[in-house]
Symmetry: C2
Subunit: 476 residues, 2 copies
Amino acid sequence: MSSAAPSSALLDRFAAIVGEKHALREAADLAPHLVENRGLYHGASPMLLKPGSVEEVSAILKLASETGTAIVPQTGNTGLVGGQTPREGSSDIILSLERMNRIRDVDPIGNTMVVDGGCILADVHKAAAEHGRMFPLTLGSEGSCRIAGNLSTNAGGTAVLAYGNMRQLCLGLEVVLPTGEIWNGLRRLKKDNTGYDLRDLFIGAEGTLGVITGAVLKLFPQPLGHQVAFAGIQSVDDALTLFKNASGLCGTALTGFELMPRIGVEFTARNIPGVRDPLETAHPWYVLIDVSTSDSAETAERMMTTLLEQGYEAGLIQDATIASSEAQQKALWHMRESMSDAQKPEGGSIKHDVSVPVAQIPKFMAEAEVAVMAALPGARICAFGHMGDGNIHYNISQPVGADKEEFISRWHDMNKIVHGLVLKHGGSISAEHGIGQLKRDELASIRSDIEMDLMRRIKTAFDPAGVMNPGKVLKV
Amino acid sequence: MSSAAPSSALLDRFAAIVGEKHALREAADLAPHLVENRGLYHGASPMLLKPGSVEEVSAILKLASETGTAIVPQTGNTGLVGGQTPREGSSDIILSLERMNRIRDVDPIGNTMVVDGGCILADVHKAAAEHGRMFPLTLGSEGSCRIAGNLSTNAGGTAVLAYGNMRQLCLGLEVVLPTGEIWNGLRRLKKDNTGYDLRDLFIGAEGTLGVITGAVLKLFPQPLGHQVAFAGIQSVDDALTLFKNASGLCGTALTGFELMPRIGVEFTARNIPGVRDPLETAHPWYVLIDVSTSDSAETAERMMTTLLEQGYEAGLIQDATIASSEAQQKALWHMRESMSDAQKPEGGSIKHDVSVPVAQIPKFMAEAEVAVMAALPGARICAFGHMGDGNIHYNISQPVGADKEEFISRWHDMNKIVHGLVLKHGGSISAEHGIGQLKRDELASIRSDIEMDLMRRIKTAFDPAGVMNPGKVLKV
């Protein structure tokens, strides 16, 4: 812990910036902000501040830098790597953006939207829809996660295949630097080659380089055609061939290609109310295929029909269903998006958010299964995810009847096995969730010294006092 | 000039790294590397080095940092802002990547290609085509420009609308840092959230943060359908409406939407051999529309026909022709791509590479015409470009019979007028060409102090000795 505990006089100075009403100090008020969703991290903090303006954020960070007080930015508290959680036993002050949740401007002609960093993702979707537009980032947590968090983790989700991560969905940023200075980079330009790319440096920096208070987001026309299919298949190899066919046939109209194992479908049918297996018989693997077209509904229909027909003919698909209504489409996606939650009632789950080059997925999956099952007999591997991006959530549920604590104590062993294979195939140990506290030390162990050094040099250049979300991403 | 002239003994040490054969010192050998295409900059240099490996680049930069010797990386020498030109009266040593031009690997399944930084863009196109794939970056200079230069300037070109700039077309980099250290970031992953985005920092840094020696490029399936049309229209307003319609109808199948004025078509028909006006009568403005589809040739045909029919009906299009062969498609694109060269025989030309939010283009164009014509009566405005990206090459040819030198002496006056309007509309003074020497001081005058300071902090953190392409982008 680099920073000393702030005195009560100093806490009063922080509270005065936002007003006592917006400075929480009571244990009960702070409690929900000290833990994250998975319960892996339990932090400590003397105070949570809710600034109402960019100027207040600036004043907070200026005082923090002057006094060496650590600040943890927090938005929807939905992160999965402890990046938003104050450090254990720390005196980190939490800076919440929840009051800064305005949609500043929607421009359906230029296809841009300017929002506060604290905007909830679902509200962004709603505002876009009200103007006949679409913002593609789609996440299970969209009802509570907020844009600054999505940006700080370069969030991915299910629409990355066609639209990219947050980095590709953002044109400009407003950032308060650790020193309190305000950078206005709220540009709305598709092309702008004027100096170093500061925007992409703040995006994905997990709040360690500054606080994102505003953003210009890209909007898209709402597609005219939309088709969702769910197919039972025999192997991950077949899924890869199908993906290549789909990608060739549909190009960027292929807006989703998700892989799921039989056990994942069983988990959701058993544990998530309202979910049922969409096919009559069981299949070892499944793919969810999503196609969206801008020119007409017929194009999407034709693409999907052709794709499935060719898949049957080639023996790649055993059975398939095409959703015949929007409600059915949502139901298929709901099954896929519930797959992580569906593991909870099955006991402990050791999770991995990895990516490998798409063509390596079958080999990686086969090797990982052998290694995991050898190390943990009876384990139930529920590996699913964004096949088209090479991004697999390689989750492992405990053997039936096993002790949960004992199983979870194997977390790092399992990481070692799975991440080892990921690295062997040139992959990433964090495809979309980020580094936070969870993978900080592992990052340092797998990256070259020069890469870690470059990151530290940037951190020091932007945050000389070391007050911005310390201990996350980098040890520093 | 921060660095002292290297002694002849020091030059010998540099030459020893690559071998005398690959170290040019003769004035005649150096001459073509001291000027750039437009003749705006004439630099000086005692030596040009042609390393043959990453290790040799590393040894050069290590020695440069130790001795405080300035190094200018140069690839195809096709840059338009003097970024690749040694400084006037300098002793900058030129580092050419022309010997490092291998295609290291093509993976048509994973849709990636790994190349040396010195690969010529046209060779990348060829290698992709040999594997049934496509690399979308398309530039007039593709026969001589090289990948490291394309990356260092975050090159754009005519396919940005659908595929993005170089930043969107690159998955990983290998970079030699100013200290000589080698960063291997040759990742092939679509999703990888592991720390700060170093890749996008080097891309677009114009060689001021390191030398890009290798890159992983994204490949795409070759489209099955391709249609190119050329339409005569009445106004820029109509072009914007047409663009919005095209964008809505075709989505990402809209792979090009270029705007051209009557005078540009006249210039090319008059000055470029083989080019003729594709339409029978003259029109004030023209658009070139390019549609590519992955599912079938019919989809592209249907999209283009619908688009033009609706355009006629709405009175947006006066006359149009659809290319009926690949040769005709190429001829239409050739006219557009020759538009800058076609200005040369017309005398002096003052150029701008600007962007504004797409919806602002008509207003910007109208205001700029009034202001330019008032300041320079008789000027022939040849403003054309990538309408769909908001990127206009706002070029001004001299009045007929005017004195070329006198006209060119108005360069900065014209910049002031055009860039002033660009900034008023929230635009960029360098949409795709970069900053280099040409716009360095102007950048500092239009950006906030904090933004310039952040860039300088990055520069210092990466290049403490200040030897990498000094005086470009930043004064430092």
